[in-house]
Every structure is written in structure tokens, then in C-alpha cells.
Amino acid sequence: MPPHMQQKPLTKPMAIQLDSVAKKYGDHTVLNNVSLSVREGEVTAMIGPSGAGKSTLLRCINLLERPDTGCITVEGSQIDAGTNFTAKDLAALRRNVGMVFQSFNLFPHLNVLRNVSIAQERVLGRPRKEADARSMKLLERVGLADKAKQYPSRCSGGQQQRIAIARALALDPRVMLFDEPTSALDPEVGLEVLAVMKELAAEGMTMVVVTHEMQFARDVCDHLVVMANGSIIEEGDPERIFTNPVQPRTREFLRAVLER
């Protein structure tokens, strides 16, 4: 076992486990047999140069991207990407995973409240009243209860991303995936999204965050994963990696993002 693993409390069960996940687009290898473990309640940041495969790896966790080979386990639901799995297996795995996208992807034809309620009704079969009550609670939590009747287009980018977080949380996921949640936002606006994410982390949500927000990766995350060229080149305690990266490629990347 590599030394950094011992810093983690080993009692906590695994929330996410990826085993030798590989993906190719033609001749181009996007993910080169990547394995990753995330424990319950852990916040993992994935950083690295663009094209490293961070987003692809994240999207493999809920199979928005289907790997060519590899095994994915999330909260006990397992899918072997190399085999034929059923829609039921996929639904069971996704049932525990919420996702937040870089481009928000709110539904423009539904108002904010409906955006948060619709999947509760369709996936969990919650009655509309119950779903709306839950949605209002979540919108309050992200500070946007007053926007419930608005359409997403009337909300700022930061507000839209907070609504997207509420929408994902509405299904009571045990794991939340964030794909560059602040990259489409002004730096200042990004802060309000990061604040919501910090709160979520403090409450013990298991999170995997692909990000270029180095401060967030360093201060909020428990575990840091550095990717380059479709592989994880270094992982461990964020503070350790930020102050003393082992790999030259990590050092190069950190210098580029921190000393600018």
C-alpha cells in the first residue's frame, strides 16, 4: 500500500471504486487503466492539464461515458463495463450518484421549482406536492427559494449552478460528482457555488470534483488526484502534493497554475 493511503482512516467503507478503467477513441487512449478509490464522506479533487482525462474519468463513475473495459462500483452497485449490463443495473448505480455539470444543463422550459422536482416525481415516484416541498427546502438551502417560479434563463450563472446542485441533491444521492462546476462562471460568482460545495463537504457528502480551483482543492478536499495523459500520475494528501509534489509533471502543472 502506498504511504499516503495510511493517512486515511481505514475504517470508512468505500463509496466509489474504479478498477482498471480504460477508454480509447480510435487510436487515442483517453483513459489508460485507471483505478481510483473514494471512501465514504471523502472529498476528492481531480486536477491536471486539459485533455488529461479528468472529466472522462468522472463521467465514467455514473457511466455517462462508457469505458471500454474496467469495473465500476458505487455504493455497492457494480457494473463491469466490458460486459453487457442491463438498464436496471445502470439505474441502480445512478440512483446513488448526483452530478453537476460545467454548463449547468438546467431544463430551460421548466421553472426552477419544476427543474428540481421533475426527477423526484419521475425517478422516485414522489407525489408532486411532496417533491415540491423537498425542492423548496433545497432551494432555501442554496439560498434561492425566491427564484422558485422563475425560469432558469432569468437566473445568473452562479444561481443556475446552485439550482443544478439542488436538483441533484433532490434525489438524495450518496455521492456527488462535480465536473468543473465553476469553470463557466466569473471568479467572483464562482465563490457562491464553492460556498455551497463547502457546506456540502462539511456535512459529510462524498464528493468527486474535477476543478481548476486550486484553493478549493487544497483547503476543502481530503484527497487530491493529479491526472495527465489518461493516467493518475500522483495522488494523496492535497497539502503534501501542493507543497511537495513527487512527479515532475505534477510540479510543472502546479507551477503553471499557481505561479501565474
Binding site: N62, R94, M99, F101, F107, I118, A119, S153
Partner: protein, 212 residues
């Protein structure tokens, strides 16, 4: 003035024929548009072939095939039923192409968001993608509908008593051969202008609500 009133008698038939054909197209276009996008081998080929055949043959030929061809074997195919069937089938193909345009206007992220929320494909289609496709399809569907309103006049060739049918009738009976057709033209313009105006208003309202 009498002639004008007589021609007006054709209006309900023209409108009924247009609405019925458009209704068939609006529904029938959905499976064709989805079939065209299908990844199942053969389905997409069949959908494309159907669309091309339906669009490739002129409406008047379709009506003749249905009314004079099938009609001899199937006595219940009266002129109106034949016209609705023919124009309805053609509308399916055109509406399928309009929906296809609408579908491609929806970003991939919308599908992904639905998927990530654990919604099955039927749910994603009916509550997320479908309503958005209908909205972006409105302007194109409206111009098609206006075109159809005018093109429904081919139905007179198989004896459907719509506007041109009455105009033609009047033209033959009176010394003024052209006049009744001018009146028919006027009736068409009076009908299409409010349609165009209404769709622009509807489109603007929907845009305002869900501007991207």
C-alpha cells in the same frame, strides 16, 4: 359579392383538411423523426426511405394514387378521406424533418442531465427533450402549416369541395373566368396573414419565457 359568398363555402373544408393533415403529420412525424435517429440497424434506413418517398412524390400524384388507385379497391375512400390521407402522409415526412431540426437544436447536455438524474429514456424524451423540440419546431411547423393550407387546394382535383373547387365552379359558370380565382386568392391571403401573425406572437412569447 354572391360569388365571394359561394367561394367562402369552401373555407371550412380547406381548414378542416389542413388541420386534419397537419394533425396526422404532427403525430406521425414523431416516430419517423425518432426512427431516423435510431441506432438500431435498419430502423433509420426505413425511416429515411419513408421520408424520401413521401416527400419525393408530388401531392397531386399521391392523391391520384390513393383516390383512383386504392379508392377502386376500398370504396370507403371518398375524396375527402383520400385527400386527408394523402396530405397527412406527406405532412408526416415534412414534420419529421422539422422535428429532426428541432432535435439537433437541443444540446447534448440536456440528455445527459436527464440521464444523470436517473431518468429512463422514455421520461427524458417526454418531459425534457420533447417539449423543447416542440417549442423550437413551432416557427418551421407554422410556415409548413401555412404552405399546407394553400397546397390543400390540390384536393379539388379529386373533387373535395374546398375553396378552389368552388372558385373553379364559379369560373366555369360565369363569363368572368378569372374573377372567382382572384376572390379565392383573397380568401387564402385573409386566412394566412393572421396565421403568420399568431405564430410570430406565440414564438415571441415562448422565447421570452425560456430565452437561452
Amino acid at each position: 359579392m354572391d360569388i365571394f359568398l359561394i367561394i367562402l363555402q369552401g373555407v371550412p373544408m380547406t381548414i378542416g383538411l389542413t388541420v386534419a393533415a397537419l394533425g396526422i403529420g404532427a403525430l406521425g412525424g414523431i416516430p419517423l423523426a425518432l426512427g431516423r435517429r435510431s441506432k438500431i440497424p435498419g430502423v433509420s434506413f426505413i425511416a429515411v426511405s419513408l421520408i424520401e418517398i413521401l416527400r419525393g412524390i408530388p401531392p397531386i400524384v399521391w392523391l391520384f394514387i390513393i383516390y383512383f388507385g386504392l379508392g377502386t379497391a376500398l370504396p370507403m375512400l371518398d375524396p375527402l378521406t383520400s385527400a386527408i390521407t394523402g396530405l397527412g402522409l406527406i405532412s408526416c415526412a415534412y414534420m419529421a424533418e422539422i422535428y429532426r431540426g428541432g432535435l439537433s437544436a437541443i444540446t447534448h447536455g440536456q440528455w445527459e442531465a436527464g440521464e444523470a438524474l436517473g431518468m429512463g429514456r422514455p421520461s427524458v424524451l417526454t418531459v425534457i427533450i420533447g417539449p423543447q423540440v416542440f417549442r423550437v419546431s413551432i416557427p418551421a411547423a407554422a410556415s409548413y402549416a401555412i404552405g399546407l393550407l394553400k397546397d390543400s387546394s390540390v384536393a379539388y382535383t379529386i373533387g373535395v369541395s374546398e375553396i378552389v373547387y368552388f372558385a373553379n365552379d364559379q369560373s366555369r359558370q360565369s363569363s368572368d373566368a378569372l374573377g372567382p380565382f382572384f376572390l379565392a386568392a383573397l380568401v387564402y391571403v385573409i386566412m394566412t396573414i393572421p396565421c403568420a401573425w399568431a405564430t410570430r406572437a406565440l414564438d415571441a412569447r415562448l422565447r421570452q419565457k425560456v430565452a437561452r
